[in-house]
């Protein structure tokens, strides 16, 4: 009898403590996003080689290769350089972008055939990147401030415990009404993202494959696959030769110097 009373007392204590820390689904979603962001910060700079394989409805494939250099920026979105290697006609084209937590990104493009750097002012982050199933907004730096969040449920994904979080783009010109992110419970890294178009229909699913730990603390994938359910197309991005926090040339990240990047 006394045992039971004791148990009850403990239970109620526990209950009240959870109540104190109780959070809404929105808060929990926000907290998970912040956690994911925190875990992935401090990489300073990164270079990686990227191969994009585009596949159309008929299953025909087409390959594009680019190199990426990125620079982490405290308090704002990251800076990034993309150098295009193939197709041959666009070889040497360089894109520099400064992403921002709010508002439009700054973007410059060096066109070797024109031998000029052009500043591209566009609020369109939602179009396809190089004709692929990835939109620019899927690939640019994922700042916490770009979405509002809501925790949906705990679940299992391919045998791993996950938190499913819904995020709604703050950005007006986004192509999406919402996204669902399957976040690995232990590592707080995304395993899958579902994208919903403006009418709320399932549009694309992104799969993250082959996570490896770099520099003992950063999880990086080997492959990203984006499947477009409406068009029947898909794109796989393969990453090779990650180099994190090894130092990049800071001067590369300036529009005036784009023509010198090879």
């Amino acid at each position: 009898m006394r045992n039971l009373t004791k148990q009850l007392a403990v239970t109620s204590l526990l209950l009240s403590s959870t109540l104190t820390f109780a959070q809404t689904d929105e808060e929990k979603g926000q907290r998970l996003a912040q956690l994911a962001d925190k875990i992935n910060s401090g990489w300073v700079d990164q270079t990686v080689d990227i191969t994009m394989t585009l596949q159309n409805k008929a299953g025909e494939k087409n390959i594009r290769k680019v190199r990426n250099e990125a620079l982490e920026v405290e308090g704002d979105g990251d800076k990034s350089i993309v150098v295009f290697d193939t197709p041959y006609d666009v070889k040497g084209t360089v894109m520099l972008s400064f992403s921002h937590k709010v508002g439009d990104d700054d973007q410059w493009l060096y066109l070797p055939a024109l031998k000029r750097v052009k500043r591209i002012s566009s609020s369109n982050k939602s179009g396809p990147f190089m004709g692929s199933d990835f939109a620019y907004e899927d690939m640019s730096s994922q700042e916490v401030e770009k979405y509002t969040y809501r925790f949906i449920r705990e679940d299992k994904f391919k045998g791993q415990a996950v938190n499913v979080v819904e995020r709604i783009p703050v950005y007006d010109n986004s192509g999406y009404s919402k996204q669902l992110v399957w976040l690995d419970e232990k590592r707080t890294i995304p395993l899958q993202i579902e994208y919903f178009d403006r009418k709320g229909s399932a549009l694309k699913t992104q799969h993250f494959k082959g996570y490896k730990l770099h520099n003992q603390r950063f999880w990086r994938v080997d492959d990203l696959t984006m499947i477009n359910h409406q068009k029947g197309t898909q794109t796989t991005i393969s990453f090779e030769n990650y180099s994190i926090n090894q130092g990049v040339r800071l001067t590369n990240f300036a529009q005036a110097n784009l023509s010198r990047i090879r």
Binding site: E60, P87, D89, L114, F129, N173
Partner: protein, 790 residues
């Protein structure tokens, strides 16, 4: 005589069969009705197809080209929301442009919408030194102040991509083009989108001073399915009413009318049940099958009941009357069902599967009507009461009429033949001028909303029909080559020179614009870039700055080895559309390098080719069915002479009907290809019944030709008259359809049956008398030589 013996043995077999039927009448009635009702449950599975691809027939280069277009590029079939100011005038004012913003935003939410193009989301590119801005032409109402509206007008009316596609040349109408990508998983997909678009249209009209009209290939598509459904709902009840009235006049007996209705109704629902079980989707053409079955099925019952009544009047018992009716009618009914079935099965020679369905469904219906008429009907005749009185003499008005007619024919058969010969020539001459051509929009009557909207949009804003070319280059990235781009640009210019072309949309205009933009908006540079790498880099830059859904995948393929050029036509006929496509193909052959050769395709072009292929197929089909029907008639008559006689009345009515049609309308479309098949069997019916009775009169009752003609008139005249009237009425009811293919088919078939009625009742007996005139002379002499006393 051999034939005599066979007839006797056949009729004794028939008597045994009818005896069995009468003995087990309740069981037979129960089983037959139970089977019919069980089968008819399949009706709930009958669905309407709104996929225009279902109309595509056998593989052809145009269809292959369309398949390629569909796999290489984002789809382009759309719904077009045309927006015009309510009070007329320019669309360039705040209220109308606000409606455009609203429509554009909401259009993205339409089910299955994957791309939305409008004035508002037109990606305007502006250069300012080395800055390039890519942005919506306008995005919010706050941008709609007067100086900016002037700018919007200036951009909108000078951009070749928009002209007569998104905005009319005079700036008085604009449109939002909503591309749908249907997953193809449910037949309801089109109607989901259409319902949502219609709601949006209503909303826009209630909130802004605008008039909204809906057009586009998907609306056309939906209208086809919608009209098929309406036809069933609107026409079937009228058809039943008309049938009831005619039957009542004929029988003047509630039970006999009910019996006929029961047979006809069971035939129809059983057939539609089978359609459901077989999973044949209904379409606008096949939706008239139930009405046709209803019409055709009446004939069998009328013949059996009429012979029954005639026998009863002579004082026969019920069982005897049924036995007599069945032995007189079984063979002709079997024969006519067979010929009707052959006629309809011949529709399988058409290229479009919906016509195969129409033919096959009707053939099934005719078969079932035959089975029911020789099983269920005799039972019902026995079970249900009748009050037919014995009548000795020809007292009925119609009998006198037939007697007079036979007297007239006997005297004037030569004159009749001459008159009909002249008439044939008179009607055959104009058929030469019958133009085979059609316009889809005109398939729909002016009573339909779709027709009104589509007509308006075609007249004022943009076209519904388009030709699409998939133009290859020399390999991956090849579309950036100057030779390719320059040739493509010349090709676009060639089509822009056509009077009946609204818009030509090609990647070259984007190229030229980008070249200008990236040279600081210098108009000098509004031309194709000479350097291949430069062109490729422009595209890369441009693609990267386009928003969601407005990418270039509808124009450029995956590895940039080919691009699509779309020519939007004004209101053209199928012939004009085919011609325009052929001209483009010829232009490419003379002016473009080998690798750029292409075939003009697209949904509407395929349809245009199809009506031609359909007509060709049906000519073959009709000839074949004619031959088969003649063979059947020959076999059944076992007499070459009478078989040959029967051929003529089968062909003439079609000549008369086509002649009359040419004089009335001058132009016909796909419907003409099926009218002969739809009526041939029916006409043969009448002919066979008449010949059969004539021969029976001669062989069984040993009558002289003129007497045998009179016998045929008296025994089958009323039945033929009434079945013809039923058919004429039935086909006339079809003219109520808002779908011109169905209403024209109805009118033409009705004309054909009218002609057939005259030919069979007047010309056929005259020809018979002419052919048998020697026999008649012998009989006349014998009569003259016979002493009056005996």
């Amino acid at each position: 005589m051999n034939t005599e013996n066979q007839t006797v043995s056949q009729s004794s077999k028939m008597k045994n069969f009818v005896g069995l039927l009468i003995r087990f009448r309740y069981l037979v009635t129960l089983i037959v009705i139970a089977i019919c009702i069980a089968t008819s449950l399949g009706q709930s599975r009958v669905g309407f197809s709104s996929d225009y691809r279902y109309y595509f027939g056998s593989p052809s280069p145009v269809i292959a080209a369309m398949d390629e277009l569909e796999s290489d590029y984002a789809l382009s079939d759309s719904i077009y929301i045309a927006i015009s100011p309510k009070s007329g005038g320019s669309v360039f004012n705040k209220a109308v442009l606000s409606a455009v913003i609203h429509a554009t935003e909401e259009a993205w939410k339409i089910p299955h919408a994957t791309r939305v193009d409008s004035l508002s989301n037109y990606q305007n590119t502006v250069a300012n030194g080395d800055d390039l801005t890519v942005a919506h032409l306008f995005k919010s109402e706050s941008e709609l102040f007067s100086s900016n509206i002037d700018y919007i007008r200036q951009v909108a009316l000078s951009e070749p991509m928009l002209e007569n596609r998104i905005v009319s040349q005079n700036g008085e109408h604009t449109g939002v083009n909503v591309v749908l990508t249907l997953p193809g998983k449910s037949p309801m997909e089109t109607s989901e989108s259409v319902t949502a678009i219609r709601e949006l249209a209503k909303l826009l009209e209630s909130q802004y001073p605008v008039e909204v009209r809906l057009s586009g290939v998907h609306m056309l598509n939906h209208a086809f399915a919608e009209i098929g459904m309406q036809d069933i709902v609107n026409i079937m009840p009228v058809m039943y009413m008309v049938m009831l009235v005619i039957l009542f006049v004929l029988f003047r007996s509630v039970f006999q009318v009910l019996m006929t209705v029961a047979i006809v109704h069971l035939s129809t629902i059983t057939t539609m049940g089978i359609v459901g079980w077989l999973g044949i989707p209904l379409t606008a053409p096949s939706s008239i099958a139930p009405t046709i079955i209803l019409t055709l099925a009446v004939a069998d019952s009328v013949h059996i009941i009429m012979s029954f009544v005639i026998a009863k009047r002579r004082g026969a018992s019920n069982a005897e009357a049924i036995k007599e009716s069945m032995s007189v009618n079984f063979l002709p009914i079997l024969l006519t069902s067979l010929t009707t079935i052959i006629g309809f099965v011949a529709l399988n020679f058409a290229d479009a599967p919906p016509y195969h369905d129409l033919g096959n469904i009707t053939a099934i219906g005719v078969f079932i009507a035959f089975i029911l008429s020789v099983t269920l009907l005799p039972c019902l005749l026995y079970i249900l009461p009748n009050w037919i009185k014995v009548k000795e003499n020809d007292t009925k008005f119609s009998d006198k009429l037939w007697a007079q007619l036979s007297l007239f024919i006997e005297r004037k058969y030569k004159t009749v033949i001459i008159v009909f010969s002249l008439l044939t020539i008179a009607f055959a001459i104009p058929t030469e001028n019958l133009k085979l051509d059609d316009r889809w929009v005109e398939y729909f009557s002016q009573k339909t909303q779709f027709r009104n909207d589509a007509d308006f949009v075609q007249k004022n804003v943009t076209g519904l029909y388009s030709i699409e070319f998939n133009i290859q280059s020399l390999g991956p990235q090849g579309i950036s080559r100057a030779e390719y781009l320059n040739t493509l640009d010349d090709f676009a210019k060639y089509y822009r020179g056509f009077d009946n072309v609204y818009n030509v949309s090609a990647i070259t205009d984007t190229m030229k614009r980008l070249n200008k933009n990236l040279h600081g908006d210098d108009p000098e540079f509004y031309r194709i870039p000479e350097d291949k790498a430069l062109a490729a880099q422009y595209l890369l830059l441009y693609e990267m700055s386009l928003p969601y859904g407005l990418d270039l995948t509808n124009q450029v393929n995956l590895d940039k080895s080919s691009s699509k050029i779309v020519i939007t036509m004004k209101d053209v006929s199928t012939n004009e559309l085919r011609e325009a496509a052929a001209k483009g193909e010829a232009w490419l052959q003379t002016n473009a390098p080998e690798y750029m050769q292409a075939i003009g395709s697209g949904a509407t072009v395929i349809f245009a080719h199809q009506s031609e292929v359909n007509i060709q197929g049906m000519v073959t089909g009709t000839l074949l069915s004619l031959i088969m029907i003649c063979i059947v008639v020959f076999i059944s008559m076992r007499n070459i002479k009478y078989g040959l006689i029967s051929v003529l009345p089968n062909v003439l009515p079609a000549v008369f009907a086509f002649g009359a049609w040419t004089l009335l309308k001058g132009q016909a479309g796909m419907e003409v290809s099926i009218v002969v098949s739809a009526t041939l069997g029916v006409i043969v019916d009448n002919c066979v019944h008449f010949m059969n009775k004539y021969l029976r009169g001669k062989e069984v009752y040993n009558l002289a030709p003129a007497e045998a003609i009179k016998y045929a008139y008296q025994n089958v005249g009323n039945a033929l008259l009434f079945t013809s009237i039923t058919l004429i009425a039935g086909y006339t009811v079809l003219t109520m359809s808002s779908f011109s293919l169905n209403s024209s088919l109805g009118l033409m078939s009705a004309l054909t049956v009218v002609a057939a009625l005259l030919v069979i009742n007047i010309l056929l007996p005259s020809i018979i008398l002419f052919v048998d005139r020697a026999e008649q002379r012998v009989a006349d002499e014998r009569l003259a030589n016979t002493p009056l006393a005996s």
